[in-house]
Symmetry: C2
Subunit: 161 residues, 2 copies
DNA sequence: GCTGGAAGTGTTATGAAATAACATTACATC
DNA sequence: GATGTAATGTTATTTCATAACACTTCCAGC
């Protein structure tokens, strides 16, 4: 789980400037049409996630929350994260105790991640094979409402070295 | 995640008596042939997991550790859990912060769980579709060493009510 | 059998992650 | 502008997990 090598974490680059503003506006629009409110703290946490280069710990969000360097109170951030997750704007990565902005857009969806245990790079992927599992569960009468897949391993860069 | 209904958690029944003893002996044998040691604390934690009816929290293991009702120290149990997971005798369920004995036997393997958010029943299943995902990751140069799938939803019993 | 190193354990203390509980404020609807 | 709901602010606490270091057990090689 920790970085055990000297590689650049080739994680998805965080959004900046107008790209960031645009992504936030998009989120705002989707909230509007869904009857949801992208309030200030929610927007701020999403901004931090979108701007980050990889998964972010809750307490790092808490520390970075205030524009003036002032920390937030934990519930402020945890509530925002809960909302963002519910709306499909963010995912929690259970095996890291960390959070990422969704990079696949669209609605709430099964989340799948490839997590390099060497450099820490984390990539959200289409959950290939998820339909098979959901169908298999359905045959037993189990209805899946939420599915998470977390694959740990080594990325191409770290394997090469 | 909490029990929100009055159903019996139709979880896998915990092992007792000779079945439990046999399972522990089997684990011991497998450790022997693998050059591993199923020491007393490891064996005790595995015993607690095998005897439980579902996922168990680490601090519940800590509290139940002493046969005389005396609690263990956290590192004792966490180390044992780490070992049991490494050997494939137990799994950590990330989305519950809880641990279960592996019910599929055999070696270390991808773990998949169906978790009923209503009654709490948790079932380990064969990770259908996992091969597809691993193959897909492999095409990108990512080698999966460890895969976890956690599906939340409603079990047949809870859906029926 | 002694011995040296590795693996495992005991113990104390601390750190990290998340939530409970309750007061207060914003917001839409009537 | 009254009313109810959703969201936020704030304090405190709970839950989960690990760091650090001393001590013991085990086994291989002498
Ligand atoms: Zn996503
Ligand atoms: Zn890597
Ligand atoms: Zn298993
Ligand atoms: Zn159920």
């Amino acid at each position: 789980m920790d970085h055990r090598c000297e590689h650049d974490a080739a994680a998805s680059v965080g959004l900046k400037g107008s790209a960031l503003a645009q992504a936030l506006d998009q989120a705002g629009s989707r909230c509007d049409s869904d009857g949801q409110r992208l309030t200030a703290p929610r927007r701020r946490v999403l901004e931090l996630l979108l701007g980050a280069e990889g998964p972010v710990k809750a307490y790092d969000l808490i520390a970075a929350f205030g524009v003036d360097g002032e920390a937030a109170k934990p519930p402020t951030v945890y509530r925002a994260l809960e909302f963002l997750e519910r709306q499909g704007f963010a995912h929690r990565i259970e095996s890291l105790n960390a959070y990422v902005a969704c990079r696949l857009g669209a609605d709430t969806h099964a989340a799948a991640f490839l997590i390099c245990d060497c450099c820490g790079a984390t990539r959200e992927i289409e959950p290939a094979g998820a339909d098979v599992l959901v169908a298999s569960a359905g045959r037993d009468g189990f209805v899946v409402t939420n599915l998470t897949v977390e694959a740990h391993g080594l990325c191409a860069a770290c394997r090469a070295s």
